[in-house]
Amino acid sequence: MDQKAKNVTIFKDNLQNFLFVFPAFAIFCVFYIYPFYKMINLSFYDWRGIGPMHFIGIANYKELMGDHLWWDSIGHAGYITLIALTFQNALAFALAIVCDREIRMKRFYRVIFFIPPVLSEVVVGLIWNWILNPEMQNGQNIGLLNHFLYTSGLPQMVHNWLGDPKTALTTIAIVHSWKGFGWGFIMFLAGLQTIDKQLYEAARVDGAGAWKTFMNVTVPMMLPVILVVAILTILGSMQVFVLIIAMVNEGLVNHTDVPVTRIFSAMQNTNRFGYACSEAVIFGMILVCISFIMKRLSDKAKQV
């Protein structure tokens, strides 16, 4: 009898606790789990968006494995992510370190550096498209970048940045990094502020120079932040697409395709909804794998 009362109490307790999570979980199930299930379901069919659906099993996936355009697009997203991980985060880190010491204009920079993330990707794409315009009119370069290069004595650098397959993706990656470094900056800045000043004192007393202090105090203490920023950068950069559409329309042939643009292309250009869903599923799995690896790395780093 006592046991029964205890069980009832435990049940009531669990129910109460679950109610905390209930609204979030309910919304999640309706708006995420259900469409997700439908998407996986649709990936096994061939469907034009209207009309009957034809069950074709894993044919979409088999075709996807051999679709070199798809794997190229993953490579492109990976390239953009790589540039973001290195260039963007190195820039953010450097700025954070310099800003950490600079008491005077710190608040000013904190605001200014956050402007690019705040702008919508459509606006950023539009403006940079104008800046990178390769055309000439009346003998003058229309695009600001080319105009600037020309008038500042570097005419040989004038280039069709977004129209040359060799430079298009890198240009997009740099613009993406420009837009995103603000996030990394404020996270690194916040992280730097949590480092105990006494550690720096101790290092100075020990006679360590600037570089040694950096390597032995700053970096190890910042490792958790670096990893968090890294995983957020990876997730964000792999999924970039609005910026690309805003800058190069449907893309420079296939050189600027990324997974999400391929998914939309399958839906809109070739009306293959089932195939688009299989692409989305595979893409999701790849991202989960990457996150898993990052989490493993992060746990290992925390142990050190």
């Binding site: 209207i50 129209g163 449907e250 420079l252 009306n271």
Partner: protein, 428 residues
């Protein structure tokens, strides 16, 4: 805890109680469209219609056009298509909609009173949403849509810039076009601009010359799979673009240029030639009313076959077969395509009307566009179309040629490979 439960229950009730749609009043028809530049005119016309007949027309705009297509497909799935809408897709998709029972058959209405409605509209425009007997889509023959305007795509030339380069008359053959381009470059003018970042426009240009090079029959034979894309005639089509690239005719960055940017370029006189559709008249007028330009079909490469431009209904509306207001919707569309409304539409939006009688009184530059309608063709009136994956490979292959990534032969082989793959799948 009880407070929380009560709170949740209230919220859940609110979700389901507060948000049901009110029942549709029967004196109202809903129309979804994608044409941003015509929205104001449509709203005005809707007001006029309400005053005339007392029926309210709710006109809703969803732009841009590719997002509109997605919305229509989603609405079809959810069974909430409006009374009047447009299908911005290939004819095979239109066929799918018809077979799914979502499009009303308008043949009888068109044929009433001795085909009065049908005869008032351009035949080429009606053909856009007409299915002939024996069509490959398996659709009952008939007219399923109402064209509200007519467009065609031709080449434009800036008279002032041509004169600056010493060119007295616009080119009449392709070779003359190339020569004129060289003369333009010598005085620092970019010869040609077009929105070839949008695949359909590039496809249109290529198709025009394909007709010129090999004729209609061979093109359709290629779609059927009887002729390969590695055939010398197709290689000629691909090489045309290699030639344009080599002679420096094309503006920088043409393959990433959206059409609205290309329109900007031509209006701002950054290039002497362009390739665009008749809707551009409105755009150019807004951007640069003093632009002095002319219209001509793309100059043919040879005289073996006629070069055929694309021309058809610009925009067509279909009526939702399942709508309770079907008759009212059809009546509205009939009113919209009557002469008076067509004249008003044409005047305000600078588009060619679909009503034959409304042609008088269009601006002179539009008249030049209208001249090309007789010789025009359009994928929507062909007996069959190429598989969309193959068409995509074809268009992107041409873009590859333009940026110098691939040779014409390579692209031909690539496209044929996609064609073979798609054929082997046995498409439904």
């Amino acid at each position: 805890m009880r407070k929380l439960v009560i709170l949740y229950s209230c919220l859940i009730l609110a979700v389901f109680a507060g948000c049901s749609q009110p029942p549709k009043p029967s004196n109202k028809i809903i129309l979804w469209h994608w044409m941003t530049d015509r929205n104001d005119t449509f709203q005005k016309l809707a007001q006029e219609y309400k005053q005339e007949t007392g029926i309210e027309v709710d006109i809703q705009l969803f732009a841009p056009s590719d997002a509109y297509s997605q919305k229509i497909i989603a609405a079809a799935q959810a069974n909430v298509l409006p009374d009047i809408y447009g299908i911005l897709d290939k004819k095979s998709i239109v066929a799918d909609f018809i077979k799914a029972g979502l499009v009303a058959d308008l043949t009888n209405d068109m044929g009433a009173n001795g085909s009065q409605w049908e005869n008032s509209l351009f035949d080429k425009a009606l053909a856009d949403r007409r299915f002939d007997a024996g069509n490959i889509y398996g659709v009952t023959p008939g007219i399923y849509g109402v064209p509200i305007d007519v467009t065609n795509e031709q080449m434009l030339y800036n008279k002032k810039l041509l004169a600056k380069a010493g060119i007295k008359t616009p080119p009449e053959t392709f070779d003359e076009f190339i020569k004129d381009s060289q003369m333009l470059k010598r005085v620092g003018i970019t010869p040609f601009v077009s929105g070839w970042g949008e695949l359909w426009l590039l496809d249109c240009f290529a198709s025009n010359y394909a007709f010129n090079i090999m004729g209609e029959e061979k093109i359709f034979a290629t779609f059927r799979g009887e002729v390969k894309y590695t055939d010398p005639d197709w290689i000629k089509v691909f090489s045309l673009f290699a030639g344009l690239r080599d002679k420096g005719v094309l503006i920088d960055g043409i393959v990433t240029k959206g059409n609205k940017y290309a329109e900007q370029d031509f209006a701002l006189e950054r290039a002497a030639f362009s390739f665009n559709g008749s809707w551009c008249v409105n755009v150019y007028h807004d951007m640069n009313p003093n632009l002095d330009y002319g219209v001509m079909p793309p100059p043919p490469m040879n005289t073996s076959y006629p070069l055929r431009i694309w021309g058809s209904a610009g925009s067509s509306f279909v009526v939702n077969a399942g709508s309770p207001n079907k008759d009212k919707a059809i009546a509205f569309l009939k009113w919209l395509t009557a002469k008076q409304q067509q004249v008003e539409l044409s005047r305000e939006t600078n588009n060619l009307p679909s009503n034959k009688e409304a042609l008088l009184g269009v601006s002179p530059i539009l008249e030049e566009f209208a001249k090309g309608m007789d010789e025009s063709t359009h994928p929507n009136i062909w007996p069959l179309n190429e598989d969309p994956s193959v068409a995509e490979a074809f268009d992107k292959g041409i873009q590859d040629i333009i940026i110098g990534d691939k040779t014409p032969l390579q692209v031909a082989q690539d496209v044929q490979k996609v064609k073979d793959f798609q054929s082997s799948k046995g498409n439904h």
